[in-house]
Amino acid sequence: MALPIYASTGQKIWYYTFRVICGLVFFYLIAPIFVIIPLSFNSGDYFTYTPEMLALKKEAFSLQHYYSAFSDEWRIPLINSFKIAIPATIFSVTLGTLAAIGLTQSHVPFKKAIMAILISPMIVPLVVSGYGMTLFYAPLGNWFVNSFGMDETSVRFLRVIFAHTVLGIPFVIITVTATLASFDNSLTRAAANMGAGPVRTFFKIQMPLILPGMISGGLFAFITSFDEVVVVLFLGAAETQTLPWQMFNGLREQISLTILAVATLLIVFSVLLLVTLEFLRRRSERLRGVEMVQ
């Protein structure tokens, strides 16, 4: 919005002040993240900007922390993080989408109460739900081991996956419910009228149209699982150490700048993931002409 010609002095002052405030807000949000990026290229082992770095001396910078970031110590937690985040995302999207569809049907009773319960993992402090999950999943895990003969390691992974599914579902419910609000129910009627059963109608008509919501929700669910440390600390064991778990331990036990290198890689990865998926989502929306039809 450009400043109109008739703006008074007061309006002009506010116009520029407003822009400065916005800039400060962005700085406040982003600076703490960006400050670690140059630090991760530090050739020393200190968590501070050395005078040599500030003088931009070449020997003050190195990639040594990045080399150690790809050592086994960090690679295994990275793989574990994916092993947990990917299935947890798939479960969250499947269950969350089904729940959202159910919650938008007019004949379902107690919709608000059900919604509140399903969203609650997002609101309840993680320490509380993490502790609750520990109490709940320990006997459940034992039961899996004893009844199905599953090995301990898989059960431990499964516990974290289930816990992260629960944490991811609220995001999927919220985003899919939002896309369903603009979904025209006469489309499912039209499909039925043309002879398509409920399953075909869902996969051919409804799902393609709510896919953008499912993708957004899935993205949030993935990031939630990928970044999550509290529940992993409660439920996890040595086998299930994830990247955030390893970082947390690293910070507590031995202060190594490798953490900063890993953090930088994670930032780059998250940004790329967000940008790519947002691009895909917009592209599919545009192709489907969803935004133009009401």
């Binding site: 025209d184 006469s186 489309l187 009627r189 039209a190 499909a191 039925a192 009228n193 043309m194 002879g195 398509a196 059963g197 409920p198 075909r200 109608t201 051919k204 008509i205 393609p208 149209l209 192709l287 489907r288 002409g289 969803v290 133009m292 039809v293």
Partner: protein
């Protein structure tokens, strides 16, 4: 009515809340190949009837038969009925050709057969070149044609249309009315059409069922409905109508003698009036003439003259009713009345129907 109706509503009732009936004891027979319109104001139960036929609503009581079989227990996707929705309900993520192909895919037809049928259906609605477009890239009228083609592409014998022209502008609406009528004539499908627009109903239908308050008020061909309405609601709802209130005081052959305001006695065709008591007389504006040449002659005060080219719409006060309208043909301009003047007007008793009050 023939012997083998294609669609039968047999004592159908519908209630959404278990208390009030939206459809009250509906009985209706639709012949194969018929174009039947359900016409009525909003909330009259016409759309509910259509939805029950399509299978999206279930009848609370009574049976609906299609081709001799009760369909109450058959889900919508197994009924094989085509439908055009009010908002077209085209699938936005599919092209026009994919939209039309969808019901054929469901029926497991091969690609070659599908393509041929889709092209034929598109040509029928004169949209042959639009197969690759998406619904969002077309105008309302074009989307409407595609919706019609999609309802017909899988050779459904019964096609339901739920106010399909409601969103179009007047000129396009009239054009589409003729087009749908011609498609119906060419294909011989049975069409059940729902609308609240009476001129649309009159233009297109073989028969019109006038709905009000959950009941069919009259089921008849358009001309019968207009010229011989059975009751006051139908007379008011279809076309323009003048009403005069009076009391029945006797009968003479087929006519009722009615005493109107000021003690003036009028003769009117006995249709739905009681043997005594109040009646509502219904006269179409074009059946009223200037001058005293017809049977019933009354004095009228001219209130308003509106020039409409071929005729002059004249509003009069007749027997206390100041909304009485007649149409004076433009050819009689030489003795045109002036505003405020009192003139004599007259009509024949067979054009005046004594209905329920």
């Amino acid at each position: 009515m023939g012997d083998n109706p294609y669609v039968i509503f047999d004592h159908v009732q519908k209630s959404y809340d278990g208390k009030t009936l939206v459809v009250k004891d509906l009985n209706l027979e639709i012949q194969k190949g018929e174009f039947l319109t359900m016409l009525g104001p909003s909330g009259s139960g016409k759309t509910t009837c259509l939805m029950m036929l399509a299978g999206f609503e279930t009848a609370t009581y009574g049976e609906i038969l299609l081709g001799g079989k009760a369909i109450n227990g058959i889900p919508p996707h197994k009924r094989g009925i085509g439908m055009v929705f009010q908002n077209y309900a085209l699938f936005p993520h599919m092209t026009v050709a994919e939209n039309l192909s969808f019901p054929l895919e469901v029926r497991g037809m091969s690609k070659a057969v599908r393509e041929e049928k889709v092209q034929k259906a598109l040509d029928m609605v004169r949209m042959g070149a639009f197969g690759g477009r998406r619904p969002a890239q077309m105008s309302g009228g074009q989307q409407q044609r595609i919706a019609v083609a999609r309802a017909l592409v899988f050779d459904a014998e019964l096609v339901l249309m739920d106010e399909p022209l409601g969103a179009l502008d007047k000129q396009l609406r009239e054009e589409m009315q003729y087009e749908i009528k011609h498609i119906h004539e060419n294909l011989g499908v049975t069409v059940v059409y729902v609308t609240h627009d009476q001129s649309e109903a009159l233009t297109m239908s073989d028969n019109i069922a006038v709905f009000n308050d959950g009941r069919i008020q009259q089921l008849a061909a358009p001309d019968v409905l207009y010229e011989q309405p059975d009751n006051a609601f139908v007379a008011q709802f279809i076309g323009e109508n003048n009403t005069l209130l009076g009391d029945v005081i006797g009968f003479e052959n087929n006519n009722a003698i009615v005493e109107a305001a000021g003690g003036i006695k009028l003769k009117a065709l006995k249709v739905a009036c009681g043997d005594s008591g109040q009646t509502q007389l219904s006269i179409r504006p074009e059946r009223v003439h200037l001058g005293a040449q017809d049977e019933n002659v009354v004095d009228a005060k001219v209130e308003e003259l509106i020039y409409l080219g071929d005729h002059i719409r004249t509003r009069l006060t007749v027997l206390g009713n100041s909304e009485f309208v007649m149409k004076i043909p433009n050819s009689t301009k030489q003795n045109m009345p002036t505003i405020g003047e009192t003139v004599q007007i007259s009509w024949n008793s067979e054009d005046c129907r004594a209905l329920d009050a």
